[in-house]
């Protein structure tokens, strides 16, 4: 398989933002291609579906979409690759995956793409504090 975990090493030298961007897409594809094996390892068939996991991965990537420094992007890719390797090697357990990626996605206070634009400022800062 073209995107196995074996040689996923992120050399910390993205020359430009464009190269870092390409790396992000490759990381995303690698992660998506390992979704079937993740679902099998942790028996997630009852709880979620591959397309939901894809959405979760893309929303995690999108949280950092505003970053423009290629070195920071490399660092984030390194951390993402490390997390993905841990998951694929079964170093984590089912409750980790469920808690971090499957359950309670709506309660997180991150921006969900283009939605939430109609919400008022009061609501947006509601979870942070009342002041």
């Amino acid at each position: 398989m073209a995107s196995t975990m074996k040689y996923v090493r992120v050399p910390p030298n993205s020359a430009s933002l464009a190269e870092a961007r390409q790396r992000v897409f490759e990381f995303f594809k690698t992660a998506c291609r390992s979704i079937p094996s993740i679902m099998e390892i942790y028996t997630l068939d009852d709880v979620t579906s591959p397309s939901q996991l894809r959405s979760v991965i893309s929303s995690e990537i999108r949280k950092n979409a505003h970053i423009t420094n290629p070195k920071v992007i490399d660092m984030l890719l390194f951390k993402g690759t490390e997390e993905l390797c841990n998951i694929v090697e079964h170093s984590k357990q089912r409750h980790h995956i469920l808690g971090q990626y499957v359950l309670n996605r709506e309660d997180r206070t991150h921006d969900i793409g283009n939605k939430d634009q109609g919400a008022s400022d009061f609501l947006k800062s509601f979870y942070k504090s009342n002041y």
């Binding site: 490759e26 594809k29 998506c32 397309s51 893309s58 999108r62 979409a65």
Partner: protein, 123 residues
């Protein structure tokens, strides 16, 4: 599906030996008339329907806007990460693995349909 049908039929009829196997030096491809590898080719309308289903079930897409010639970024308002995600969903649906160079070119429905239709391993 067609191959299963063919094998059940073949079990019950007697088929004469085909004379079309020719192994010259110039053309080393034997015509495998009994092989079911070639007829797994998908019907174009089926490909279109399945691609549209995949695009419509994408959570950020409005299903009413999806037509067979829609462009992901221009018409549906998605960004590049969403386009990659749709391509990955198509890879899963048709059990393909699309190399990066080809995947970068797919950014609209007609291109996706054409690529999948022309891919020999699509199923």
């Amino acid at each position: 599906m067609a191959s299963a049908l063919r094998s059940t039929i073949l079990r019950h009829i007697r088929v004469p030996i085909s004379h079309s196997l020719s192994l010259n030096g110039s053309r080393l491809t034997a015509v495998r008339s009994m092989s079911s590898h070639g007829d797994d080719h998908l019907d174009k309308q089926e490909v279109v329907d399945r691609v549209l289903d995949v695009v419509k079930s994408f959570p950020k897409v409005d299903p009413s806007k999806v037509t067979p010639d829609v462009h992901f970024q221009k018409d549906l308002g998605l960004d590049s990460l969403d386009t990659v995600e749709i391509v990955m969903a198509l890879e899963e649906e048709f059990k393909l693995e699309i190399p990066d160079k080809e995947a970068d070119k797919i950014d609209s429905c007609p291109l996706a349909v054409e690529y999948i239709y022309n891919h020999p391993m699509a199923s």
